[in-house]
Structure formats: C-alpha cells, structure tokens
C-alpha cells in the first residue's frame, strides 16, 4: 500500500457502550487504511463492531450509550474526532456518505424519495433553491436507474431493491469522497444483490470515491474489494490485499471462515463451521480474543496481548503462532 495515497486512516479506535451498568467493548483499538479511489472490505460476523466503526467515522453514534474512548479517524488529512459538531454537519452526506444495511427502514416513510434526496443536496449546496435541488435529486434517481417521475412517490411504493437504489442515490448525490457502505446488499434477494453491487462499483469508479465496504459475505468482498480487513470481537485480526487474504489466509479465524464456505467442487456432507460462539463483548477473553475457539491455541495465546505481525509486505496478521503455522 502506498502510504502517501492513503485517504482514510483509522488509528487505534476504541469505542465502548454502556448498558445496564455493563461496559460493552465494541471496538478495541482498530486501525484501518484505505487509498483514494480504492475499496476496503471489512469482513466479520454480526456484532464484531463493523457498523460501530463506520458510525464512529461519521460521529453519529448515539452518545449515551456509545462513547468513542480514543483514536483518530483521518479522512483526507483531517481528523474527524477533532471537528466540532457544526463542521461535522457539513461533512456528513457531503464529503462522507453512508449506505445503510436495511433499505426497508433507512428511508423516512412519510417523505417522498425525491424530497429525501433533495434534502441532502440542498444541505450541502446552499446556493440551490428548492426546485433546483429537486431537479438534481431527479438526476440522482436516473443515475441509479429509477425513472425521475417516480421521485414524487413514497418509500412504501418501492420494492426493496429499488429502495436500496434510492438510498444509494441519496448517498452519492453530492459526490462524496468517502463512501461507507454498511452491508448494502444483505437485506436483498441474491439476484438483486449482484445488480446493486455492480452499480455501486461503477458509480464509485466514475466519481473516484473511496469505499469502506462492510460485509459478512466473503463473496461480496471477492467481487468488489481491493483490500480486505478481517475483524473479530472488535479487533482487526488480519489485513492485506484481497489476494493476500483469499490466497494465503494466515489467521486461524480467517482460515476458519474460508473452511466454513460450501465448496462446489468437492463433495461434502456438512459444512465446517468454526466451533463455539463469538465472545460476549462485555466479557472478552484475555489475550487473543479468538483463543477459546482456536484449534491452534497455546498457553501464551491466553495471556499475552497479541501484536500485528507483517507476514508478507502489506499483509498483517494478529496471531503469535503465525510463523510456526504457516505452511
């Protein structure tokens, strides 16, 4: 990775939630790097802290209960954590946009989709009047393949895939430099998924937008991403280029993820899931967070804070036995 070209860099981000006097350690010192115009896939299970990271970058986590304890989120050279709320209002939806997981609930049910897109356009270009903003919103709709005349309709008049297109139009309407896509296709039918993904990809390339793509679907990563980071229990356990991760997975968790995928070319009776459950984020295990489920776990895995190790140039792994295990 070319360090001069880094557009987004998250450094040692720590986020905690308080709920019923328990502290939930959602994000524990996450660092990420993303180059201009590139796509980084953030892969992990539900509850691993993926969405929290995205919301932290935009600083839209509800506080309380969530609290950003420490860390930096540098976007285009500026640390989002140092910005005032007023400056953030200007950045959200303009410089950084977000696509949400569930298009069914991400749109305001009682505003027309046109109004909702026009709202974000007008917020970030005060020179436009209502009519011009609406006209621009119609362009945005056309851009995602929805006829402009449907701009006067309400979300409930659209199907799920169409709603997600509207959400995408809304996110891309003001040409953001960074797009945070939080499981943009999870709630959609498989056939629609592919369409939406390729559309996001195409628009992203046209606008030279950097994208952080959050997903639990390795297939989606394979199709869309340049780099990949695997997150487990609020920690990045492995990161590198897509080829690094897919061809030479190094962390036992990543290896487990790939082993759990059904293989078309082999005859198997059952899938091989990773044993055990994701740890309770309020009571994370000491040492390596993955050790209770890891078949290679040793004594030292249980008590040491495991550092990231560079396995090959640009390919990092958080496992103390990675060199012994590598075959």
């Amino acid at each position: 990775m070319d360090d001069n070209n880094v557009f987004l860099s998250v450094n040692d981000l720590v986020v905690e939630y308080t709920s019923d006097k328990k502290i939930i350690y959602a994000v524990n010192g996450v660092s990420l790097k993303l180059e201009k115009g590139k796509t980084l896939g953030l892969v992990g299970e539900t509850g691993a802290g993926k969405t929290t990271i995205a919301k932290s970058i935009l600083r839209i986590l509800p506080d309380p209960p969530a609290k950003i304890k420490s860390g930096q989120c540098i976007v285009g050279g500026e640390d989002m954590m140092q910005k005032t709320e007023k400056e953030m209002l200007d950045i959200r939806g303009n410089k950084i946009s977000m696509i949400f997981q569930d298009p069914m609930t991400a749109l305001n049910p009682i505003m027309t989709v046109g109004e909702q897109i026009a709202e974000v356009i007008k917020l970030h270009d005060k020179s436009l009047n209502k009519k011009q903003a609406f006209a621009k919103a119609m362009d945005a709709l056309e851009m995602v393949g929805i006829k402009a005349e449907r701009g006067g309709e309400f979300p409930f008049q659209f199907s799920g895939g169409m709603k997600q297109r509207v959400v995408i139009a809304m996110a891309l309407a003001s040409n953001p430099e960074l797009l945070l896509a939080d499981e943009p296709t999870t709630a959609l039918d498989v056939t629609i998924q592919a369409q939406i993904l390729s559309m996001i990809k195409e628009l992203q390339q046209r606008q030279n937008t950097s994208m952080l793509l959050i997903t639990h679907d390795l297939g989606v990563v394979a199709e869309t991403c340049d780099d990949t980071a695997v997150i487990y229990a609020g920690e990045i356990v492995e990161s590198g280029s897509k080829e690094d991760i897919f061809d030479h997975p190094a962390h036992p968790y990543t290896i487990g993820l790939f082993a759990a995928l059904p293989k078309l070319n082999e005859e198997t009776d059952r899938l091989n899931p990773i044993k055990g459950m994701t740890p309770d984020p309020s009571e994370l295990p000491e040492g390596c967070k993955f050790h209770p489920r890891c078949e290679f776990a040793e004594k030292k895995c249980k008590c040491e804070q495991i550092p990231m190790v560079e396995v090959s140039p640009g390919h990092f792994c958080r496992c103390c036995r990675v060199n012994e295990l590598e075959r």
């Binding site: 950045i91 949400f100 009682i110 309400f154 409930f156 959400v167």
Partner: protein, 324 residues
C-alpha cells in the same frame, strides 16, 4: 401536484360516504338497544293508577304496538329525512328543537377540550421524550400519571370549591360569558392532555430508534431539523390515532362535566331524560353526541391522511413494491 389534490378529494369523498353509513348504523344500534328496555313505557308515563284502556290508547298513539322493523324504519326515516328525533314524552317538545339550542354549548366544550388536549399534550410529550430520563421527563410523566388517574368530576368539584366558593374568581355553575367555561373545560381536558403527553413521549422514543433517523443524521441534517422534519411528523401518526380514542372519552365526559357545572348542554339533557324515563330524549341525545363524535372522527381521518401519505395513496390506485 394536481394528482395529489385529486387523490385527497377521492379520499374525502370516500370518508364522507363511509360516515353516512356509520351514522345510519349508529342510529340503528341505538334504537335497537333502547327498544329492548324491559319497561312498559306507557305504564312509566301514566303511573300505576292508569286504566288498561288509557294504557292501550297511549301505546297506540306512540306507535309502540307496531312491529320492531316498522318502528325502526319510521324512526330512521324521521331522523334522516326530516331531522326529527321525536317528541319528549314529558314536555311534549320536539327533541331536535331542544337539542339545537344545547348543541353549541356541548360542541364548544368538546372542541376546546380536543384543542387543548393536542396543543398542550403534544408539546409536553415531545419535551419529555427529547429529555428522556432527565428531570423534565420525570416531572412531566409523574404529573401525567397523576392526571390520568384523577376522576375528572372530582377534580371539577375541587375546582369549584377553590375557585368559585373560596376565592370567588369564577362562577360555580350555569352559563354566561367565557369565564363560565373555564373550569368545565379545564376539568375535562387535563386527563386528555396527560394521555396525549404519554402517547407522544412513547411514540417519539419509538421513532428515535428508527433507522431513517440515523440516516438523516448521516446526511448532515442538524439535530433541530432531525427532530422537526423527521422525528416529529412520524411520531405524530399514532398520536393522531390516539386523539380519536380520547375524543370519544371527552364527548362522553361532557355528560358528567355538564352535570357538575349545571351547563344546559346535550349531556345535561340526556341525564334529565334518563332520570325522567323520557326515552326519546335519551335516544336523541345519544344519537346527536355520536354524530358529533363521528364528525370529529372524519376531520381526524383527514388530518391523519395528511400526516400519513400511506393512507392517501390507497386512493391513487398506484401501489408498488407491496411484496418484498
């Protein structure tokens, strides 16, 4: 936007037709319930000393010997074509004539109550919901809980004791200028305000967690506009529904409030009718109160369609993406 007005017109027309159906149905139900009064009306009116012949002639005169269906149809015809609700047994005055002079008073109380219910209840609930778990919230909700629990007629009696008898600020009963209505309206609206505030608070808290609120924030909408443009309109939808329920209560509550303050409105008339076994009066008053309630319901339906486009769109004939 022309399509929008057209759609609204269709909707209102539909609701109007519907209201006529409901009104007729209501009249039938009320007539039928009254028909089953297990008392011989002629005996009640003439007393136990009346002879059989007198009773029979009175029954004949009142049409009580006709079969149920004939009586019902006659009643409906009178109500809906001639606006005739029959004559009072006791005073021999047409019920409609008496009601006409009384309706404005009840109407005035009823409308003021609904107005205050929403004008005070909604902002209070909003304030409580936005300051969840802070002192404003706690104060509002404790007060609301107390006021939904206090019987309104008791509150009214206490008000009379304080403001009329002890302080002499307000008249204790009767009608006259606007100050005669202050206590009745206040006593009638506090519980509605409390109910609305509670409803508004919980529906706002529901909306606060909605995904589209997060997505509005992600668009860079300021906190003030998130509340005003995104939360409030959505949170109002269940509150408007709740207003309809509260409305029935406040109209029926007028019977009790009018009794406490001796206001010669429809409710008071109804009660006199009940005490005198003057059934045309009872029937007529209840029908008028139900009609009034149906009318306000219609207005609320129209408001509801304004806040919730999903209702209106049912009449545009264009629905997309109904299935997932």
């Amino acid at each position: 936007m022309k399509a929008g007005t057209n759609r609204m017109g269709k909707y209102i027309l539909n609701r109007l037709l519907w209201m006529i159906f409901v009104l007729v149905g209501t009249a039938i139900v009320i007539f039928t319930i009254m028909y089953f009064i297990p008392k011989d009306i002629a005996k009640v009116l003439l007393g136990s000393s009346a002879t059989q012949a007198e009773l029979a002639s009175l029954r004949e005169r009142l049409g009580l010997n006709d079969p149920y269906i004939v009586q019902l149809l006659r009643y409906l015809k009178n109500v809906f074509t001639k606006f005739d609700l029959g004559k009072s047994y006791i005073y021999n005055v047409p019920v409609m004539q008496e009601l006409l002079s009384r309706i404005p008073r009840t109407f005035f109380i009823g409308c003021s109550v609904i107005l205050f219910d929403s004008l005070l209840g909604i902002p209070l609930g909003l304030m409580a919901g936005l300051n969840q778990n802070k002192w404003q919230d706690a104060l509002c909700m404790v007060l609301a809980l107390i006021f939904v629990s206090v019987p309104n007629f008791w509150l009214a009696l206490q008000l009379v004791d304080i403001f009329a008898v002890k302080l002499h600020w307000l008249p204790a009963f009767g009608i006259g200028g606007i100050k005669y209505y202050i206590m009745p309206v206040f006593a009638a609206f506090v519980s509605g305000v409390a109910t609305n505030a509670r409803q508004m608070r919980s529906s706002l808290l529901d909306v606060t967690r909605a995904d589209y609120i997060t997505s509005a924030r992600a668009k860079g909408v300021s906190e003030r506009n998130v509340v005003l443009k995104h939360m409030l309109p959505n949170a109002l939808i269940p509150v408007v529904t709740g207003l309809g329920v509260g409305l029935g209560k406040s109209i029926a509550g007028s019977v009790i409030i009018e009794t406490v303050f001796t206001i010669p409105g429809v409710g008071m008339y109804l009660l006199t009718g009940i005490n005198n076994a003057d059934y045309p009066v009872v029937q007529g008053s209840i029908i008028i109160l139900s009609f009034f309630s149906a009318l306000v319901m219609l207005l609320l339906d129209i408001v509801y369609a304004q806040v919730d486009p999903r209702i209106k769109a049912q009449y545009s004939g264009r629905m997309h993406g109904v299935t997932k």
